[in-house]
């Protein structure tokens, strides 16, 4: 009796999973092969499947898939630090013989081998958002992070009147995007002699840790006038910490990205400026470049998707609204 019950539970579990997983249909390869002739299959591999940023990349990729009549296979690791899982996903896509791969690399060195494997299998690889230390990918479709962080530094300088102590909150030491934004911010500070960088603390892409780090920054530097948070969890943590200290609006925060949370915080004055990337374009142009590469058309080696500085003043302009809500509100 017990055994039957256990069997039923296991069956129910698998049935449940089946319902969830097979919704975006992973067709058996036998069925996919004949279909391949008229529809290209593009594997799109983000660094993480949560965070609005990646969901917007997916929307862009899906839009391009629809427009150019290609199937988009969206698969990624849970977290940006899971390099090994991303390698596994890519290897599965290579075994499945997708026509092209569009990917954001979790690590600039760790993915090179699997990319070589794809290229050897004649599958063109396009990197988006985060590139790799290699010439193998056809193109890098991404924000120029150094330029973006420089824009952040100049905006922060404007907000605090070109003078005072500032803090920097990158996210993960060693992650390419984090390092580039750190580098860009520091480079810009050389042209801004009034700004003094007093602390660099990492939020580890965790809201609570970002909050703690910001509190420590304020404690160690009571004269702190502003800080630059290089990604979304850091921005939310910093804003919450400043708010809890009763200093919202006094300590200016410039942050990367534009999630619903961050936009709300810009509106209520907890954040002063957002450096907004264009993840929709990364997904869209990434897939478009992949299709061009498969069809033998030329693709530029570096496609910049640009950044826009969004403040409370320009928030409601139609072009900014379209950038912030590519999927509609």
């Amino acid at each position: 009796m017990k055994r039957i019950a256990l069997g039923l539970i296991v069956l129910a579990l698998f049935a449940g999973c089946g319902g969830q997983v097979s919704a975006p249909p992973p067709q058996p390869s036998a069925a996919a092969t004949p279909a391949k002739k008229d529809r290209l299959e593009i594997g799109v591999v983000p660094k993480g499947i949560s965070h609005q940023f990646w969901l917007t990349v997916k929307a862009g990729a899906d839009a391009a898939g629809k427009e150019f009549n290609a199937n988009i296979r969206w698969q990624g690791p849970d977290k940006e630090t899971e390099i090994d899982k991303q390698v596994n996903i890519l290897e599965d896509m290579i075994s499945r013989k997708v026509d092209a791969i569009v990917m954001a690399a979790c690590d600039e060195n760790g993915l090179t081998n699997v990319i070589r494997k794809a290229v050897d299998a004649k599958i063109p690889v396009i990197t988006i958002d985060s590139g790799v230390n290699s010439d193998l990918p056809v193109s890098l479709v991404a924000t120029d992070n150094i330029a973006g962080a420089k824009a952040a530094a100049h905006e922060l300088a404007r907000l605090i009147g070109n003078e005072g102590e500032v803090g920097l909150m990158p996210f993960i030491p060693g992650a390419a995007t984090s390092e580039l934004r750190e580098q860009g911010f520091k480079e810009a500070l050389q042209d801004l002699p009034g700004l003094k960088l007093v602390a660099t603390l990492y939020c580890q892409s965790d809201v609570a840790k970002g909050m703690n780090a910001t509190q420590d920054m304020m404690t160690a530097n009571p004269g702190l006038k502003g800080l630059f948070a290089a990604n979304e969890p850091g921005a939310i943590g910093a804003a919450q910490a400043v708010k809890a200290a009763g200093k919202a609006g006094q300590i200016k925060i410039v942050a990367f990205d534009a999630s619903d949370e961050e936009i709300q915080m810009l509106n209520d004055g907890s954040l002063q400026a957002l450096i907004v990337q264009n993840p929709f374009q990364m997904g869209y142009l990434g897939v478009k470049a992949a299709i061009d590469a498969v069809n033998g058309r030329p693709v530029e080696k570096r496609i910049d998707t640009g950044v826009t500085v969004v403040t409370k003043d320009n928030l409601n302009q139609p072009d900014i609204q379209k950038l912030l809500y590519p999927l509609g509100k």
């Binding site: 949560s50 977290k79 030491p173 965790d206 809201v207 909050m211 404690t219 999630s259």
Partner: protein, 312 residues
């Protein structure tokens, strides 16, 4: 005297560490900073209080980080979509934790699966559940009443809650049949069974309480950060386990307590706080904290052995 010191060595270590850090860093001594360290310890302190109950029985609960995230996501989803009043929001988090704890306990005690495996499964499943339910997004938890338990209206509220929980469970562990049974089970499971302790029920009880405390901590975390994130408390299980062990708990079971565990959680947060205040390179922070954990536990064991408190 020696015995008393050794019995409370986590507190002694905490006091010593605070003195050293206070001398090295004037910023550490400020009232605001001490408050900040106290209230950021609340979440991990509550989770670790649950964890020690399981560790006492020679078990382990690896799912607490994920269960905290899931509970936060469940609670905030309900609050956002159905405008549930705050007590019910907290209740939903507690229930989520309870359900996870019950499953853990049932499979560990009745199913005879090692707790390490059961809770490893729960760790993955609960994280996946949080991702599914939230669609991968952060859920905003902004409501003035809800923000209270996380300390946005007064640092002493989460700190008070944590101290109360630790005090209550200290009493439970020392003076109730259930508490003493947990020590007995961790000391020797078969002997406990033979002496008539309902071992399975007690072990399930430990997992259920651990789950509920974790569920509550998850809600508090969402309240504190203003968002429930499916990725919240990533690695939180290791922080909680480290707090238990630094606080004098033994992964072999039968040793440890709530006061020590809370001291263990504080020790870790004081260390990280110190590194942040001194703007120490994050790579060195990890090396420093990792090394100190091992040294502190070694020192703690040494003292206990000298005082004749440790079974060989």
């Amino acid at each position: 005297m020696r015995q008393i010191l050794a019995r409370h060595s986590p507190l002694v270590i905490l006091a010593g560490l605070c003195i050293v850090v206070a001398v090295l860093s004037p910023e550490f001594r400020t009232a605001d900073n001490l408050k900040s360290v106290a209230y950021r310890t609340a979440v991990v302190g509550i989770i670790a209080t649950g964890q020690i109950l399981v560790i006492l029985t020679a078990g382990i609960d690896l799912s607490v980080g994920s269960v905290a995230a899931l509970s936060g996501v469940v609670a905030c989803t309900l609050m956002k979509n159905y405008a549930l009043p705050v007590p019910l929001v907290i209740g939903s988090g507690l229930l989520t934790g309870l359900a996870c704890g019950l499953l853990n306990g049932f499979f560990a005690a009745k199913g005879r699966i090692p707790p390490f495996i059961v809770t490893l499964g729960m760790m993955m499943a609960a994280r996946g559940g949080a991702l599914l339910l939230s669609g991968g997004r952060q859920i905003s938890a902004i409501s003035d009443t809800f923000a209270i338990i996380g300390g946005m209206r007064g640092w002493w509220i989460p700190v008070g809650i944590t101290l109360t929980i630790a005090a209550v469970f200290s009493v439970v562990l020392t003076f109730t049949r259930f508490g003493r049974a947990l020590y007995a089970i961790g000391g020797n499971l078969n002997a406990a069974r033979l002496s008539g302790i309902p071992v399975d029920r007690m072990r399930i009880g430990a997992f259920v309480l651990c789950g509920m405390l974790t569920g509550f901590a998850g809600v508090m975390l969402a309240s504190r950060t203003g968002v429930a994130s499916p990725n919240a408390a990533d690695g939180g299980e290791l922080d909680a386990i480290a707090a238990c062990v630094i606080g004098g708990g033994s992964l072999m079971g039968g040793e440890g307590g709530c006061v020590g565990t809370l001291a263990g959680a504080l020790i870790m947060n004081v260390l990280v706080n110190f590194c942040n205040l001194k703007n120490i390179n994050p790579a060195w922070q990890k090396v420093l904290v990792g090394a100190l954990i091992v040294i502190l536990v070694y020192y703690d064991n040494l003292r206990k052995r000298r005082a004749g408190l440790l079974k060989e």
